[in-house]
Structures are given as C-alpha cells and as structure tokens.
Symmetry: C2
Subunit: 416 residues, 2 copies
C-alpha cells in the first residue's frame, strides 16, 4: 500500500550534486542585495543552449520577472540558454520600474555571457527569477557590478553554490542529483536545486526549483514530462495553501542527440520524479515551524480530481494540522475534513490508516489499540497515511505538514 | 464605508434574554452526560407550536440527530413544537444505534411534553441536536431519567440556562435579545442563543444557534428571511474553515396572526440580522485562542460569489491570520491571498484599508505612515478592513479571526 514499498531499481543511483550535469555550468555568490551579506545571486548557463519546460505561479498577482520569463519562453519556443536568479528582493508589486529592472538584469547577463561564450545570446533565451522582499525596487547597482563577475565564476561544480544563493527563509541549501543508466548502457544525470517555504513578510518565500538533465528530449516530451513530474512533486506539496507571486519551476535539458524513447524515457521520468519529489519534500522538511511531514495517499476515488479535492481539504485543515503537531491520530478531524471537501462521499465506506495501522474501517472506529499504534508512528518526523474512499480505483499522493506554535510565532512576528 | 456607520434606529432596542419571547418556554440543566458535571441538556418548547426555518451542516458526514431533524422538518412541513439538545456527546459516527438513540430521545421528549401540554405531540414536530464527543454512543440512561424533569422545568425565563447547557469548549454562554416596535406600535421580541467554536478532539465543537421570535410569518417568508440572515451572520463567520458534522441553526416563529408585511417585515429582518450577527460574532470572540476579530468587507466585486471567494481566501489564509495575530498590516499577504482566490482580478485596481487607514491604493503601497496607523488599529480586539477590487459594485462582509500560538496549543494537545 505504501510508497515506501517501491524499491529503487539498480539503474538508478544517488549522485553528487557537485558533479554537475553535462551541458551546464552553475554559479552562486554574493551580489550585495541582502543586507545580511549572505549569497544572493545565482546563474545557470547552458553554453550550447537547452530545451526548457516551465511551471510558473498561478497567482494572478504576478511579479515582473515571472511575466518577463513567461514571455521570453514563448518567444524563444522553449529554448533557454541561461537562468539568472536573485534572492533578497522579489521585484514584486514594483510597477513599470520592476519590469525595466528585470529586463536590464537580463541584458546584463546576456552581455556578460555572450563575451564568455563567444556568441550573441538572444535576450528571449534568458529566464529571470527573483525572491525576497516585496514592494521595494530591485537594487540594480549591485547587479550591474556583480553580473560580469558571476559570469566568470560559472563552473560545472557550482550547483551547491546555486542552492545556497537562492535561499531566503530556508535554513539549509537544497541540492540533489541522481545518475541513471539507460538500456543501452549510456549514463544520464539529473540534478537540481529548490527553495521554499512559507511566506514571511516582508519576504515572500517563493518556491523556486531548477532541474537540469543531459537527456535529449523533444519539446513535446519535455513539456508533458514536466507537467506530470510537477503534479507528483512541487504541485503535491502544501504548507499553508498560500502561493507566492514568484513561484517558478524549470526543467532544462541539454541533450543534443535523438530524443529518448520507450523504456529509456520511462527511466528518465522515474528518475526525475524521484529527484523532484525529494527536492519538494526538502522544502517541507525545512518549512517554517515544521515538525512533521505527512505523506498522504487518498485512494479509492472515482477520479484524480476528486482525490485531489479530498487530499487538499485534509492537508490544509488547521484542525488536522494541529492534530499532526500533537501526534494525535484524530480520525474525527480527518473524516470531517474529507466530508466538507465537496466530493460526494459515502461515510460508511471510508477507511483510514496511519503508518500501516488501520484506525477506521468502513465507517467504524477500530478501537484504542490501533490508535495507540498510530500515535507511535506519528511521533516520527515523517510518515505515511492513507484514506480510502471506497468509491473507485483512482489514487494520489499529497505531502503536507503539521501546524506548530512555532509557525505562528514566526509568521506573527511584526516586522521581523 | 464601514458597517459601524449604520446607526441603530429608535424602534430597535436591546432586551434582556431572560425576559423571553411570547409563545416559548426554555430549559437548561444537567442530565449527567458530561463527566465534568456541567449542564448538558436543553429544551425549547412552543406549546402552541411554531413555524421553523433550518440551516443544517453541509458536511457530507452528518450526525444522526441532523439526519433525523431534517426528515422531521420535512415531514412536518416546517412546523416545530420542541427542540431538544444535549451537549457532551455528538451522537456522530455512531451508525444505526445512533439513529435509534436520537429517535428515542425525541420519543421521550414528546411523551413528557404531551403530558405537560395536555395534547399529543407528533414526533416529527421535534428537532434534536447533539454536540460533543464523536464516535461514542449517546448515554441514554441519563436522558431517560432527566427528560421528564426537564419538561417540568421549562420556563419563560429559561433562555440563559439554555445558553449554558449547550456549551462545549465555549468559555461563556451566548444569549442575546432585541425588542422592536412595528409601525403599528406593536412590540415584537427576537431572542436567541449560540455556541461554537473550533473543534477539539474528541469533542467536535459544533456551531449551534436557536433564534426565537413572536412575529407572525408565513413559511415562505420565514425560509427566505432565515436564508438571507444566515448568509450575513452564521454563514459569514469563519475560524478554521472546518465544518462540524452537527452544525444547526434554527429560526422559530410563534406568532399566530397575519404575516408581517412591508416596512414591518423589513424591521424584523433588520432586527434578526443584527441579533444573528452578534450571536455569530460572539462565537468568534470566544473562539479557541482568538485574540482579534476581523470584520472584512470585500467591495467593488462583479458578483456576490466573486466577493465571497476573495473574502474566504483572505479570511482562511494562515499567513494572513498569523499577521493579524501580530497586528501586522501585511498587505502583501492579503493581496497575494486575493490573487490566488481564483477570481480574475486586476492587481492594479486593488485598494486596501484597515480601520479607515488606506495602506494600498490601486496597486500601490501608500507608505509607512498609513501602515503605522493601521498597526495601531490592529491592536484592538475587533476592527474593520476593506479590500476593494475595483471591478463592480457588489460587496459583502465576512468575519474572521487571527491564528494564535494558543490556537495551536489547544488543538495540538494530545487527548486533552
């Protein structure tokens, strides 16, 4: 029943993020945007170019860099040569000036990289992201000064530096890599970074994720793959239901050969899904005030959409989340959250297990013993639960967190 | 702009809840369901009968008493003679036995009241409500013993006792009354009780509200009126977005004369709306860990539905709620919550004021002074804010609360 049953196949192995991915160089360092003096500028460069699939925030209040990146990706038909990202300032709610600044940042990077690459980089092949304080103009002076230095500092081993440079409220950098062997024996690499997690005013802690692979994929493959992978990773995590104005997740593929097919394409999807899911979980694990991460499976649904509605109602319920914080196998709150999800349930068919302990079966409480077992499981930092609706055969996973007094303290802090 | 501008007209005055309402007698006392020994049983009796409009929980997981009450109201074509309510046990998730127990409780009350009234009470003229522990069978022995005593204890002055008897996690009883003078000079009374607020396992703190009036209304008037009143009161408050399996709000009208019309009907609606809104706000004011109550107006919407979606996205956002807790005029979080509400907004048209201080106008932050003013307002226990969407002329009020570390502590307590 549980995801943990999935054994990792022998063709899939952990790799060092610092070993990089063929076709990409990375940079992370300090431009001087953050007053703390921490790293705040990152670059990804694909000297030969890469194909890119993107998922941007669905929030209608969108920051300038997201608007510009979306337009660039369209104009370049999905081709991307570089991604620039700054932390410390979100360039959001900054009006026309914000758009001018985002554009100038791209121009500065295109110029610096053209020199390095010995070829003209079209502006629309650049993606730009910002994360941090909202409402304040992006400080351009530090960027004008630092971008040429950053371009010189790009290296195949720079992925961990990039992970550090995109942090805002994160307490640790998030970089991961996997190696996979295709059926032909060829080795591929997938590697990536992410950041989260909640939103602390005046910082809106944007969700950013960049994954790179040296696989060769058509644009159609790339887009379909990234959409499926994000649904199982970055779109399957939730801390507080709030989305930022700047959320961006990019998949870049540098391979120049024939597109992958069949079993090899399936292997890549498996590897990418695992990498993305772990990078997404890393965001939860490092979330503000998070003490427990819940892997929740909703099964027995009539459709994916119904499973998602039930899963989100549970994962976002403050009463469920506080119960998780108290390690309390509070089936009443979980069942009640499912009941108000808008999905036409039959309460007498619902079953709930936590960490393999069945505490509620087809509408009936299974007694104090199973609850005591579940309580023990819930003391772990991370565990699985399953709610079966008994209506069909669709299922999906969602990843949520508890709600702690620390979360409130962090987020209620006036002008932190 | 603010609701507080509405002056109360001279024909509307506060009244003593203990003065009662013509046509009703009330009871509240101790049957022995609660282990604490607190009051746990209440009755409303209309010896001549009353017309009733009801709003029940929309949760699909519904407790036996709600299922039975709904069927009764339909069978009796909206006629109600008595309402019985117990606290300490919700009779929810109790299967067929739960339905048997709800039915027996009604039979016991019908029998006891028939003796007192000297006429046979049809079973379907009874409404039954339960609130408290879920999953455990309703203890029938205390009820069998106590119901005849309760029937003898009914009195015109018993409304405050009823308010005490329906409490679960509430820290204080909630009873209110208003007097209103019709254009003819006739006096009417509206009075009611409510209880809330969050849900603490194993108690599901159901929202219950009973309002009584001696006005004369047709069934059609009563249902239309109650639906409009609830939309502006009990359906306009939110603490955590979770709904209980037992929520019930009843309006009972004992008047036997000609139905009210025109100006008089409008006066009654005004009085009922104020009474219901204050009883609903009382639930928030006594909510678990609540330190601030927000009266939020969303204006300039194209439709009521859009206004409601925006208002709920804001009022339920944990990031907004923690900002309220910190008295932080965090417009970024409010704007971002509106942006993800699913309503097609134009960010450049949004304006936000808190307590009359305009901090964000048509997409632009109004500077630190207005924020400092708003911060002072937000230190109050209760205040108003308005988000204008700039799209149309529809508006609505919603009432929400902050999210405090205390809320988490109360709800995370394992087996409290």
């Amino acid at each position: 029943m549980m995801k943990s049953d999935e054994q990792r196949p022998s063709w899939l192995r952990d790799a060092e993020p610092s070993a990089g991915v063929e076709g990409f160089v990375f940079y992370g360092g300090r431009a001087g945007i953050k007053k703390s003096g921490a790293d705040d500028f990152g670059l990804i460069f694909a000297p030969e170019g890469a194909r890119c699939a993107a998922v941007y925030t669905q929030n209608l209040v969108v920051a300038a860099p997201v608007t510009l990146s979306r337009a660039h990706l369209k104009a370049a038909s999905g081709r991307v040569s570089a991604v620039l990202v700054n932390s410390g300032n979100a360039n959001a709610c900054t009006g026309e000036g914000g758009m001018r600044d985002a554009l100038e940042s791209c121009q500065l990077v295109a110029q610096a990289l053209s020199e390095r690459a010995g070829r003209e980089l079209p502006l629309e092949e650049l993606q730009v992201c910002s994360t941090g304080v909202i409402g304040a103009p992006l400080p351009m002076e530090p960027l004008r000064e630092h971008i040429p230095i950053a371009a010189q500092g790009l290296t195949t081993r720079g992925l961990p530096d990039l992970a550090r440079a995109i942090m805002t409220t994160d307490t640790r950098p998030k970089a991961r890599a996997l190696s996979l062997t295709l059926s032909s024996g060829v080795e591929l690499r997938v590697a990536g970074v992410s950041k989260g997690a909640g939103m602390i005013h005046p910082n809106m802690a944007t969700m950013l994720a960049y994954l790179c692979t040296d696989a060769s994929l058509s644009h159609e493959q790339l887009n379909a793959l990234w959409s499926r992978v994000c649904d199982k990773s970055f779109n399957a995590i939730t801390i507080d239901g709030d989305t930022s104005t700047n959320d961006t997740a990019l998949l870049l593929a540098s391979g120049q050969g024939e597109p992958l097919e069949g079993e090899d394409l399936a292997r890549l999807e498996r590897g990418l899904t695992e990498l993305a899911r772990e990078l997404a979980l890393d965001i939860l694990r490092d979330g503000e005030g998070v003490e427990h991460v819940l892997h929740l499976k909703v099964s027995g649904a009539r459709s994916q959409e119904e499973a998602r509605r039930v899963a989100e109602a549970i994962a976002l319920s403050p009463l469920v989340k506080t119960a998780l914080n108290g390690c309390d196998p509070n089936w009443g709150r979980i069942i009640a959250a499912a009941g108000r999800s808008g999905v036409a349930l039959d309460p007498s068919l619902l079953s709930l297990s936590i960490g393999g302990s069945l505490i509620y079966q087809e509408g009936r409480w299974q007694g104090p013993e199973s609850e005591a077992e579940a309580h023990e499981v819930m003391r772990r930092a991370e565990y699985e639960a399953e709610l079966s609706l008994g209506l069909g055969s669709e299922e999906l996973w969602i990843y949520g967190t508890d709600l702690s007094a620390d979360y409130v303290r962090i987020n209620a802090d006036y002008r932190s």
